[in-house]
């Protein structure tokens, strides 16, 4: 089977600047890939390119065997934006029922995803009356509604407590075991250990692409936060002496 994601020499021009450059990687189906990197390094931009909403993308960017953004992917790829993109003047259920209608999936899915994100009690509340973390969960629920083959989730666990976070990662793992591929960005370093593979970006470039163990070994650290700091600083050091 073709790779779930096939990116070669991807570059993105944004606001007159190249914010992603020379990115190449492949993701096999059924993998959970974590995307880490400092704020502003281009994680969301990469995700936008993969779901086909980013302008000025050059290089190869194929998803499930076809170019990113192809019409045939609209049911096969689901995307959760970084900011909760749901209607704040609708209730949780109204939001989910609307997106379910657009995706052409049944109402049974609405009940299911509500349970998965732990929002049964709030299901009749207006989204504008929910907390930030709860709004994020509504947005995540929308991404889980269809039955996509690839999930592109931009910081899905922001604002979640440890219990919910654990449950969600268990849910992601169940999806992966069914062959669903997940690309998940995060600022929570511990979540890296839930991933099969970690991509670390910095300044629009890929600076590491490995499993957690290998990253720790390579950076001679014993936790991912330290590994991240070493990686990011290593790159700083290299850049600050360009002629060395």
């Amino acid at each position: 089977m073709r790779a779930a994601v096939d990116v070669r020499n991807l570059a993105v021009l944004r606001g007159g600047r190249t914010v992603v450059e020379g990115l190449s990687f492949q993701v096999q189906r059924g993998q959970i890939v974590g995307l880490l990197g400092p704020s502003g390094c281009g994680k969301s931009t990469l995700m936008r390119a993969l779901v086909g909403v980013q302008q000025n993308v050059t290089g190869t960017c194929e998803v499930l065997g076809v170019p990113a953004g192809s019409a045939s992917l609209r049911r096969r790829v689901s995307y959760m934006t970084q900011d909760a993109s749901v209607y704040i003047n609708l209730t949780v259920t109204e939001n989910l029922e609307y997106f379910a209608a657009v995706l052409g999936v049944g109402r049974d899915r609405v009940c299911l995803v509500l349970e998965e994100v732990g929002l049964q009690i709030e299901k009749h509340s207006l989204v504008s009356d929910l907390s930030g973390g709860q709004r994020n969960r509504v947005s995540l629920a929308v991404a889980l509604l269809g039955e996509p083959e690839l999930l592109v989730l931009d910081e899905p666990t922001v604002g979640l407590d440890p219990v919910l976070r654990r449950d969600l990662w268990a849910q992601f793992r169940r999806l992966a075991s069914r062959g669903v591929t997940l690309l998940v960005s995060s600022h929570v370093m511990e979540e890296a250990s839930e991933c099969d593979r970690i991509l670390v970006m910095r300044n629009g470039q890929l600076i590491a692409d490995d499993g957690e163990e290998q990253l720790l070994a390579r950076t001679s650290t014993n936790n991912i936060t330290d590994a991240f700091l070493v990686l990011v600083n290593l790159n700083n050091a290299v850049e600050s002496v360009p002629d060395a």
Binding site: G15, V57, R74, I88, N89, Y98, A101, L126
Partner: protein, 254 residues
Amino acid sequence: MRKRTDNPLQQRSVLIATAARVLSQLRHDGRSVALILGAPVLLLGLLSWVLSGQPGVFDEWGALLLGVFPLLLMFVVTSVATLRERSGGTLERLVTMPMSKIDFLGGYGLAFGVAAVLQALIASALTFSVFGLTIAAPVGSVVLIAVLNALLGTSLGLFASAFASTEFQAVQMLPMLLLPQFLLCGIISPTSSMPQLLEWISTVLPMTYSVDAMKQLTIQSEVTGEVWRDIGVLVGFIFAFLAAGASTLKRRTP
């Protein structure tokens, strides 16, 4: 957005779901409902009161403004609503889903169209019964023009929202796009008495036709051919702005 290869039934269901969603959003927003349904009534009531000392004058102005007020209001409501959709990330999400431009714009058009019909019916009913507007033509023809005006406001608002990046800017579109039309449409002075250049400009502005139709209806006892021409032009403008709005909906953004 999606190529139109899916079967038409499924496509219509997304359009209808979108319209229902927009109406639910309105329903949860009591103030907007009050504004849409109540403001034209209040304004026309105020106008009839202002003109109460001059017999016959309200008959002239009432019908004209019964057309103009819905246009202004629906323009503001629609442009702000769609701007929110663009800037709130929900449009970005929808374009990654199986939804066509027709579903999106048609859904908005249908939802605000329903609101526009209600608005025009309520405003007309009160203007004729309580404020005592009397016109020569059948009442239904004035209601029809009012509804078309509201729909024109909606389609213009859908288009204009593409050129605003904040709600503040969206509201500023009103003086920029609609007030010049108000000056040139023939309410302030008949278009035929304006300088040649302005008269030419007025012929490409939609409000000119709605005001012309209303003027005809206040004096002619039946719907004349000129009114039908105005109606045709208005319908053309509504679809033209919808199409222009569609061309501003981009799947990929910077």
